[in-house]
């Protein structure tokens, strides 16, 4: 008990220095956690992907449409269970700054494909039976204070015109990484308007979402689908939903790599700061360690005492970071939901904070602890005069 008291008192002997070290570790680990959370948010689409879902799009580019007529042929491919056509709708609510993702989808099949979008049966029925209906995510509803029954008008960019629609359902995500900021409207609503206003764009779709029963056959089924439309005017490219999402993420690969590197550099910097603190502490108290050695305390015990002091400081910083990170993330979520619809601290990130706290504590104290443990008593007394 006395030894623990001595470790604690020594760790906080220079209160300002100790507090600054703890705050430094906390800030560094919080920054690290925040950057990891940004990376997780960036990759959320990938992590939320299902192995049982494929995406078929135009082989030339995602911006090029596919004939809706492909739907029936795709459905007939062995292994395909569900097909739902969909378009990036790109509607704007009042102003560009109000950006949120919105898709026109074949609703009935789409909701069978995405069971993680949880809607009450009554609301789902109301949505499916209203061609001008829309279903929105819980967070989107919170952001604009929309409720079921409200009429919302989007200004079309890809599909010009004003698009009034009635909110018929609000979905909740079944998993923490489910995006709750999206609006879905009926593909048929868009297609019918196109038939009237721009007939040449009718009967086209941006992509097909495909449900397959056996995920291990994804490659084979993809190949079969693309083979159907080889040498046609609109050749297809079919890939897993994960690969499709990865295509978006890989566009930002350099930025993501930079964030990853910076997050580890931050840890390296705080390691250097903590190591400096422990080296100063050991140097200042070399005489005291020599006295303890003189009294008979073994060198390894003294080294471990210094290590414990270092761990006390670094883990205090890690504990502070574990409190700060969720609070900062919450603030981020409230203010930047349009950029990072899925922004939460993962369990892995939370576990990494104390792990890095231990690593920083151990590495920072390693050299001073060895020195304290091995210094010869007479040499230490001579050094301190």
């Amino acid at each position: 008990m006395l030894l623990l008291r001595l470790i604690f008192k020594n760790a906080f002997r220079h209160r300002l220095r100790s507090m600054l070290t703890i705050v430094g570790v906390a800030i560094a680990l919080t920054a690290f956690g925040l950057m990891r959370t940004v990376l997780d948010a960036w990759n959320a689409g990938v992590s939320a992907s299902s192995a049982n879902r494929l995406v078929t799009r135009n082989a030339v580019s995602l911006t090029q449409p596919l004939p809706y007529a492909y739907r029936g042929r795709i459905r007939q491919v062995t292994g395909v269970d569900i097909v739902a056509a969909g378009n990036w709708f790109g509607g704007i609510y009042l102003d560009e700054k109000n950006f949120f993702a919105n898709f026109a989808v074949e609703a009935e099949d789409f909701f069978r494909l995405y069971p993680e979008l949880v809607v009450t049966p009554a609301e789902q029925k109301a949505f499916l039976t209203d061609r001008k209906g829309a279903v929105i995510g819980r967070k989107l509803a919170d952001r604009f204070h929309w409720r079921v029954g409200d009429t919302v008008t989007l200004r079309g960019t890809i599909f010009p015109g004003q698009w009034p629609m009635t909110i018929r359902a609000i979905y909740k995500g079944a998993r923490p990484d489910t995006d709750e900021t999206v609006l879905y409207l009926h593909w048929s609503y868009v297609d019918e308007v196109m038939k009237k206003t721009t007939p040449r764009r009718a009967g086209q779709t941006g992509f097909f979402m495909i449900g397959i029963g056996d995920a291990t056959k994804a490659a084979e089924i993809s190949k079969d689908i693309d083979a159907l439309f080889r040498n046609s005017q609109a050749e297809t490219l079919t890939e897993t939903e994960k690969a499709f999402q990865m295509g978006f993420v890989s566009m930002s690969e350099a930025i993501l790599m930079a964030i990853t590197v910076v997050s580890y550099v931050v840890i390296g910097i705080i390691l250097a700061v903590a190591a400096n603190t422990m080296a100063m502490s050991a140097r200042e108290r070399l005489g005291e360690f020599a006295v303890l050695k003189t009294l008979g305390f073994p060198g390894p015990t003294l080294g471990l005492m210094l290590l414990a002091e270092s761990l006390l400081l670094s883990l205090s910083g890690a504990a502070l970071a574990m409190g700060l990170l969720p609070a900062i993330t919450d603030a981020f979520t409230k203010n930047l939901a349009q950029y990072f619809p899925i922004f939460f601290v993962s369990r892995e990130t939370m576990l990494l904070l104390p792990a890095f706290g231990v690593a920083v504590g151990v590495l920072a104290a390693a050299a001073p602890a060895v020195r304290v443990g091995t210094v010869r008593i007479a040499a230490a007394f001579r050094r301190i005069g």
């Binding site: 008990m1 008192k9 009294l295 008593i377 007479a378």
Partner: protein, 228 residues
């Protein structure tokens, strides 16, 4: 008062290296110290008296010779064995007290007992008894900074005797004290020697302090002689 030799030093030599230069500090020192002896080592600065004291206490290595204490040649012990040996057999008193500033007087005295198998309660009882023996039973909760120099040295002496060691080594124990406090400390050391039969080896510059010893030996240029 003197009995059979407790400490036997034979042909002890020690030198330091400074770059390529070898500086001899102790040359072929041979002498005995009896159980219950109170020996003062005097000599000019750089004469090697503190080095000799450190060698006797097992905190500095020798180049040649043997130091046999209570039948154990401590020059053959490893670092770990020496640490354990010191904790059982030697109490230390330093010139600048060397108390741990963040601990109270009682905690400072209790420190060496952490290396024993005593319970926490027993440790505190022993520490309090040692503080009482040096006349500071009412200063248990004081930090070193709240004590005078003389009081701090008394706490250091309590720490030195709390494990009931055979030998007390004192390096300039009055070097940082005023005359009155120095006299008190010497009286205390003399009492420990006479009443508890502690063998004391003390290095001092202070001839008044050396007068408290039974025997005074002088070191000069690394060689030992009986002081006049």
């Amino acid at each position: 008062m003197t009995q059979q030799p407790l400490i036997e030093i034979a042909h002890l030599s020690k030198s330091y290296r400074r770059g390529d230069q070898v500086i001899p500090v102790l040359s072929d020192i041979t002498f005995d110290i009896a159980t219950g002896e109170f020996l003062a080592l005097i000599g000019p600065s750089g004469s090697g008296k503190s080095t000799l004291l450190n060698c006797i206490a097992g905190i500095d290595a020798v180049d040649a010779g043997t130091i046999t204490i209570g039948g154990t040649d401590i020059t053959t012990l490893s670092e770990g064995e020496l640490a354990a040996w010191r904790s059982r057999h030697v109490g230390f008193v330093f010139q600048f007290y060397n108390l741990i500033p963040v601990l109270t007087a009682l905690e400072n005295v209790e420190l060496p007992l952490l290396l024993t198998s005593l319970s926490a309660r027993a440790r505190q009882e022993h520490a309090l008894a040692a503080l009482t023996a040096v006349g500071l039973p009412d200063r248990t909760d004081h930090k070193p900074a709240q004590l005078s120099g003389g009081q701090q040295q008394r706490v250091a002496i309590a720490r030195a005797i709390v494990t009931d060691p055979d030998i007390i080594v004192a390096d300039e124990p009055t070097g940082d004290l005023d005359r009155h406090s120095a006299a008190d400390i010497m009286a205390l050391l003399r009492r420990l020697n006479q009443e508890l039969n502690k063998t004391i080896v003390m290095v001092t510059h202070d001839h008044r302090a050396a007068e408290a010893a039974h025997l005074v030996r002088e070191l000069d240029k690394g060689e030992l002689r009986v002081a006049p």
